[in-house]
C-alpha cells in the first residue's frame, strides 16, 4: 500500500479555524446514526481585509463498511463493492493502484498570505501530485489535467515533509518511501478540470451548493483552487469505526468592488452569478457559513437574511465567529440569495502579517551558472516563540545547485539537512530538505546557488517566452502541543476534528506561510518560484495516541 498525495496548483491543504468549526458541526449533526455513507456540502464565505472575498466550498463524502474497515485497520488495499455516494470512477483508481491516501490540488493564481491570511486549504500554484506513473495517467484521464507530465524527474519522497493526514501506525507514517510528492507549477486549471471534478459529486451540479459553480465567475477570480483529498479517518475515539473520507473542495478569491461606490458588498448572486435554489437531497448537511469575526454585532456589514445561528470559537487572535445558515430551511421559500451590505466604504489598512512568512526570489542576471544566480529564501518569524520548520525545495534537474556555496544567514539558529537527493540529467530532480530553527522575531536568509543547463531543443516547454516555472518550496512546522481550541465541541468528536484542530491551532499561533514570487526575475528563461510553507501537526500525533491507543494519527498541513 502506498500513501499517495496528489496536489496540484498552489493552494490547498490547510484547514484553519473556520473549517474546523464547519466540520465539527457537520459531524455532530450528521454522524450519529449507524450510517455507512454520508455526504455533506458546505460553503464558507470570508470577506478579507484586502477587500477581496474568499469563498470555500467543501463537499465531504464519508464511507464505511466491513471491507473498508478491515482495509484501513490492517493496511490492506481497498476493495470497494456497492458504490453509493462515493464516486465509482475515482474509487476504481484507488483500488487499482493501491492508494491509501491521496491529495490532489489544481490551482490557478497565488495565495497572498500577507494580504489574505491563511486559507482553509492550501495549495501551491500549478499542479501537485504524489504517485506512480500509471496512477498519474489514470488521474490525468479522470481530471483532464496534464498529470502525465509527472515522471521520475519531478517526483520525490521527502523525509520529513508530508506526513499522512489520516490514520496510520507509526512505522507506516514514518516510512517516507511509501509517499510520492510532485508538483507541476505550470499546469493550467480551467473548465475541463472543473467538469470532471463536479461529476464526482453525488448530485453532480443538478442540485445543492454545486449549482453555484458556474465557470465564468470561477475563472475570472484572483485565485482559484480545486482539490480532492482522500484519507482514512476514525469516526470514534477508539477507532472502532474507521471511515474513508473524500473531501472535494474549491476555493476562490474574488474582488467584486464596484469602484464607484467603494463598498465591499457581496451577494451569492454577485459572487457566483446565481442564488441558491436547492439542496442536494443526498446530503445530510448543507450549510453556508459566513465569517463574521470582529463583526459579531453585524456593524461592519449586515447580513440579509439575519443568521439564525452564530458560533464563536477560540480566543485572542485565533477567535473566529461564524454565522451559520442551514440551506435546507432557506431554500424552502424559493431562491436564497444571501447578501452582505456594508454601510461604509472599504478602508484599506495595515493587515496583520502571519506569524511565519516565507518569500523566495531569484537573484542575479544572465543564464549562466556562477556566483551570479541564486535562489534566496527569506524566512521571517514574527512570533515570540522560536520556530523549528522544515524547508523543502523540489527543483528540476536543469537547475544545477551548488551546495558548497549555499549558506544560511542565521542570527543564532541552526540547520541541518534531513534529506538531499542530487539531480541527474534528464533522470531525476533535486530534493533538498532542511530543518531550520528560527529564533523569535528574526529574519533568516538562505541562499542556494545554481547554474542552468543548456537544454536540447525538445526539452524547452511550450511557450518558451514564459520561461520556466519551478515548483513552490514548502515550509512545514511541527505543531507544539498547545491548548486545544473548542474542546467542548471536540469532545464528542472524532479524530477528524482533531486534525482540523491542529490546523486551527496552527493558524492561530504558529505559522503561516506565504507564497513568494520573484517578480525580480525579469529575464528570460528563469523561472517563477513560489515559496510555500507548510506545517505539520505532529503534536497531534501524541495527543491522538492517547485517544486511540492503537492508531497513530499524523497530521500535516501544507501551504503554498
Amino acid at each position: 500500500m502506498n500513501v499517495i498525495g496528489i496536489r496540484m496548483r498552489p493552494e490547498t491543504l490547510f484547514y484553519f479555524n473556520i473549517i474546523f468549526v464547519v466540520n465539527c458541526f457537520q459531524l455532530i449533526i450528521g454522524s450519529v446514526e449507524d450510517y455507512n455513507n454520508a455526504f455533506s456540502e458546505e460553503l464558507l464565505i470570508r470577506p478579507l481585509p484586502s477587500g477581496h472575498v474568499y469563498s470555500h466550498f467543501e463537499f465531504t463524502t464519508l464511507w464505511t463498511n466491513k471491507r473498508i474497515k478491515e482495509s484501513i485497520l490492517n493496511y490492506k488495499d481497498f476493495d470497494f463493492v456497492h458504490y453509493d455516494l462515493f464516486p465509482r470512477a475515482f474509487g476504481e483508481i484507488v483500488e487499482r493502484y493501491h492508494v491509501r491516501e491521496l491529495h490532489l490540488s489544481l490551482t490557478q493564481g497565488l495565495w497572498r498570505y500577507h494580504k489574505w491570511g491563511y486559507p482553509v486549504v492550501e495549495a501551491p500554484p500549478g499542479a501537485q501530485l504524489w504517485t506512480w506513473k500509471d496512477l498519474v495517467n489514470a488521474l490525468s484521464g479522470l481530471f483532464c489535467a496534464s498529470l502525465n507530465f509527472i515522471d521520475s524527474t519531478n517526483t520525490v519522497s521527502p523525509e520529513l515533509s508530508f506526513r499522512p493526514l489520516g490514520i496510520t501506525n507509526p512505522s507506516y507514517s514514518q516510512n517516507s518511501s511509501l509517499m510520492r510528492y510532485t508538483a507541476l507549477p505550470r499546469e493550467n486549471v480551467c473548465t475541463e478540470n472543473l467538469t470532471p471534478w463536479k461529476k464526482l459529486l453525488p448530485c453532480d451540479t443538478k442540485s445543492g451548493l454545486s449549482t453555484l459553480l458556474h465557470p465564468t465567475p470561477l475563472y475570472s477570480a484572483y485565485y482559484h483552487s480545486l482539490s480532492l483529498h482522500m484519507r482514512p479517518i476514525c469516526e470514534d475515539k477508539d477507532c472502532r469505526t474507521p471511515v474513508l473520507e473524500l473531501v472535494q473542495s474549491l476555493s476562490l478569491v474574488q474582488k467584486l468592488f464596484n469602484e464607484m461606490d467603494g463598498r465591499q458588498d457581496w451577494t451569492l448572486r454577485s459572487l457566483f452569478s446565481a442564488p441558491l435554489i436547492s439542496v442536494c437531497p443526498l446530503s445530510k448537511i448543507s450549510k453556508i457559513y459566513v465569517d463574521i469575526t470582529e463583526n459579531e454585532n453585524l456593524e461592519i456589514f449586515k447580513l440579509d437574511p439575519l443568521p439564525p445561528n452564530v458560533e464563536t470559537q477560540g480566543e485572542g487572535t485565533a477567535k473566529r465567529s461564524l454565522a451559520i445558515y442551514d440551506n435546507l430551511m432557506l431554500v424552502k421559500d424559493g431562491p436564497f440569495n444571501l447578501q452582505a451590505r456594508y454601510p461604509n466604504k472599504h478602508i484599506y489598512g495595515i493587515i496583520p502579517v502571519p506569524s511565519l512568512q516565507v518569500s523566495r526570489f531569484i537573484t542575479g542576471h544572465g543564464l549562466e551558472r556562477g556566483s551570479i544566480r541564486s535562489i534566496t529564501v527569506k524566512l521571517v518569524n514574527s512570533c515570540p516563540n522560536q520556530l523549528t520548520v522544515t524547508y523543502l525545495e523540489v527543483l528540476p534537474w536543469y537547475l544545477r545547485l551548488f551546495f558548497h556555496t549555499s549558506h544560511f544567514l542565521l542570527p543564532e539558529s541552526s540547520m541541518y539537512v534531513s534529506k538531499l537527493v542530487t539531480a541527474r540529467d534528464r533522470e531525476r530532480g533535486w530534493l533538498y530538505e532542511v530543518v531550520v530553527t528560527l529564533p523569535p522575531h528574526s529574519t533568516t536568509e538562505m541562499q542556494l546557488e545554481f547554474g542552468r543547463a543548456l537544454l536540447k531543443w525538445l526539452e524547452y516547454p511550450p511557450d518558451a517566452n514564459h520561461g520556466f516555472y519551478i515548483p513552490s518550496a514548502l515550509t512545514m512546522k511541527k505543531l507544539e502541543s498547545k491548548s486545544f481550541l473548542g474542546m467542548k465541541i471536540i469532545d464528542k468528536l472524532k479524530s477528524k476534528f482533531l486534525k482540523k484542530k491542529s490546523k486551527e491551532e496552527e493558524s492561530k499561533e504558529e505559522l503561516s506561510q506565504k507564497p513568494s514570487e520573484d517578480p525580480k526575475d525579469k529575464d528570460k528563461d528563469e523561472d517563477r518560484g513560489g515559496g510555500e510553507e507548510n506545517k505539520k501537526g505532529i503534536t497531534l500525533r501524541k495527543r491522538v495516541k492517547e485517544v486511540h491507543s492503537i492508531k497513530d494519527l499524523a497530521i500535516y498541513s501544507l501551504a503554498v
Partner: protein
C-alpha cells in the same frame, strides 16, 4: 641558458600568481572556455563537499572527475587549501620541466637521425639541415610558450583539473621519448584514467619503442596493471562502480550540453533525438579515426604523431578546454625548423587571435545581453577549431615537404618542368 630558464620560470609563475590573486580571476575562472563540466574546480569543490557529507557523488549529475582526482582534491582542499595556488603553479612548472626534457630528448633524437641519414640526403640539402643551436633555442621556446601561453595561464589560474592532466601528459611524452617502457605504460594509464582520450598515445609509444618486443610487452603490462589498480582504488574510494558511468559514460555520451569550445554541445542541442546515438558515435570516432592513417605516415616520427593526436583530440573531444589547446600548442616550437614550410601561419594566427577575442564577446551577447544567440558563439568556436585543424594539417604537410626536399633537393621538377607540392 640556465639563467634564462630561471627567469622565465619565475615570470611564468608570477603571471599565474598575479592572475589568481587579481580581481580578474572571478571573470575568468568560470568561463565556459576554461572550465568545462569535467575540469571545473567549482564542481570539484562541490564533489568534495558532497563526498564529505556522505552523499554519493557519482549518483548525481554534478561531479564527473575520477575518484582519485576526488580523493586528491579532497586532500588539497582539506589540508592544503591555503597553498592551493602555489600547488597549481608548481604543477604547471613541473609540467614545463617535463616538456623541456621531452623537447630536448626529441631534438637530440632528430640530430641523431639526421646524422644517420645524412648520406641519403640530396646534395643541396645543406641549407635545411638542423643545427644544434637552433634546436636548443626551440626547446627554450617550448618552455616559454607553455609558461606564457594565455591559454595555459588562464587554465592554471582557474584551478582546472586540466592542470593535473597536462602534468601527466607531459610525463607520458617524456617517458615515451626516453624509451622508459614501464613508466610510459604507467603514466599513460594514469592520464587515460584521468581524461580518456590520451589513450591514442599508445600508438606513438609503441612505434617509438616497437623495435624491441620486450618494450612492447612492458608497455602493455604496466598499462594494464596500472589501469587495474586505478580502477580497484577508485571503486574503493567511491564505494562502487557507479563512477564508470559518471566519468567515462559522461565523456562518451556528452549529456551536459553546457557550451564550450568544442563541437558537441551545439550539434546535440539541435539534433533530432533518434539521430543522437549515431552522431554521438560519429563524433567520438572522429577523435580516434585519424590515428591509423597518421601512424602509417609518421611511423618514423612518433613525437610528431603524438602532437597531431593531441591536437586532434583537443578539437574533437566532448569537453575540450583552453588548457588542452595551450598544452599542445606549447610543443610547436620543437618543430621550429618546419616553420619555413608553413603556408597558413598568418591565416591561422589571425583566426586564433580573432576567435579568442570574439568568443567571450559573443558569449556575453548571448547569455547576458540576450542580443545574440547560440549561433554567434558557436560560429566563433567553429572558426577556432578550424584554425587548429589548419594548424595541424599545415604542420604535417610542412613535415612532408621538408622530407621531400631533404631527399630530393630544393628544386622541384617533374619531367623537367617546374612543379609544386600540394596537399590533396
Amino acid at each position: 641558458m640556465i639563467r634564462n630558464y630561471i627567469i622565465i620560470y619565475f615570470l611564468g609563475a608570477m603571471a599565474r600568481f598575479f592572475l589568481m590573486n587579481s580581481s580578474l580571476i572571478s571573470a575568468v575562472k568560470n568561463r565556459v572556455e576554461v572550465s568545462t563540466p569535467l575540469n571545473s574546480w567549482l564542481r570539484v569543490k562541490e564533489g568534495v563537499f558532497l563526498h564529505g557529507q556522505g552523499i554519493p557523488v557519482y549518483n548525481g549529475g554534478v561531479y564527473h572527475g575520477t575518484p582519485l582526482e576526488l580523493a586528491i582534491s579532497e586532500l588539497l582542499i582539506r589540508s592544503w587549501s591555503n597553498y592551493l595556488h602555489i600547488i597549481f603553479i608548481a604543477l604547471d612548472l613541473i609540467t614545463t620541466t617535463f616538456l623541456v626534457l621531452a623537447a630536448s630528448t626529441y631534438t637530440i633524437k632528430l640530430l641523431t637521425v639526421q646524422k644517420q641519414e645524412r648520406k641519403l640526403y640530396s646534395t643541396d640539402a645543406d641549407a635545411i639541415l638542423l643545427k644544434e643551436a637552433d634546436l636548443r633555442r626551440g626547446v627554450f621556446l617550448v618552455a616559454a610558450a607553455f609558461l606564457f601561453s594565455p591559454y595555459s595561464i588562464v587554465s592554471c589560474a582557474a584551478l582546472t583539473t586540466t592542470t593535473f592532466t597536462n602534468l601527466l601528459l607531459a610525463a607520458t611524452i617524456y617517458a615515451m621519448l626516453k624509451g622508459y617502457a614501464f613508466w610510459f605504460g604507467a603514466s599513460l594509464a594514469l592520464v587515460t584514467y584521468q581524461s580518456f582520450y590520451p589513450i591514442c598515445l599508445l600508438v606513438p609509444g609503441i612505434l617509438e619503442m616497437g623495435h624491441s618486443k620486450k618494450s612492447v610487452v612492458k608497455i602493455f603490462t604496466s598499462f594494464l596493471v596500472t589501469v587495474y589498480l586505478l580502477f580497484f582504488v577508485s571503486s574503493e574510494i567511491s564505494g562502487g562502480w557507479q563512477f564508470l558511468t559518471a566519468t567515462y559514460g559522461f565523456i562518451l555520451s556528452a549529456p551536459d550540453l553546457t557550451p564550450n569550445i568544442g563541437l558537441f554541445w551545439y550539434f546535440f542541442t539541435e539534433m533530432f533525438e533518434h539521430f543522437r546515438l549515431f552522431f554521438l558515435a560519429t563524433f567520438q570516432i572522429n577523435a580516434f579515426v585519424y590515428v591509423l592513417p597518421l601512424a602509417t605516415k609518421l611511423r618514423k616520427d612518433p613525437m610528431l604523431l603524438s602532437l597531431a593526436l593531441l591536437a586532434l583530440t583537443a578539437v574533437f573531444r566532448s569537453y575540450p578546454s583552453l588548457g588542452d589547446v595551450g598544452f599542445y600548442m606549447s610543443l610547436l616550437p620543437v618543430w621550429k625548423h618546419l616553420y619555413l614550410y608553413l603556408k597558413q601561419t598568418f591565416l591561422v594566427g589571425c583566426m586564433l587571435v580573432s576567435t579568442s577575442v570574439l568568443g567571450p564577446i559573443m558569449y556575453n551577447l548571448w547569455i547576458f545581453n540576450g542580443s545574440a544567440n547560440a549561433n554567434f558563439y558557436f560560429a566563433v568556436t567553429l572558426a577556432f577549431n578550424t584554425a587548429q585543424i589548419f594548424l595541424v594539417t599545415d604542420l604535417l604537410f610542412a613535415h612532408v615537404k621538408r622530407q621531400y626536399h631533404l631527399f630530393n633537393g630544393s628544386k622541384l621538377e617533374v619531367d623537367g618542368q617546374p612543379a609544386t607540392l600540394a596537399l590533396e
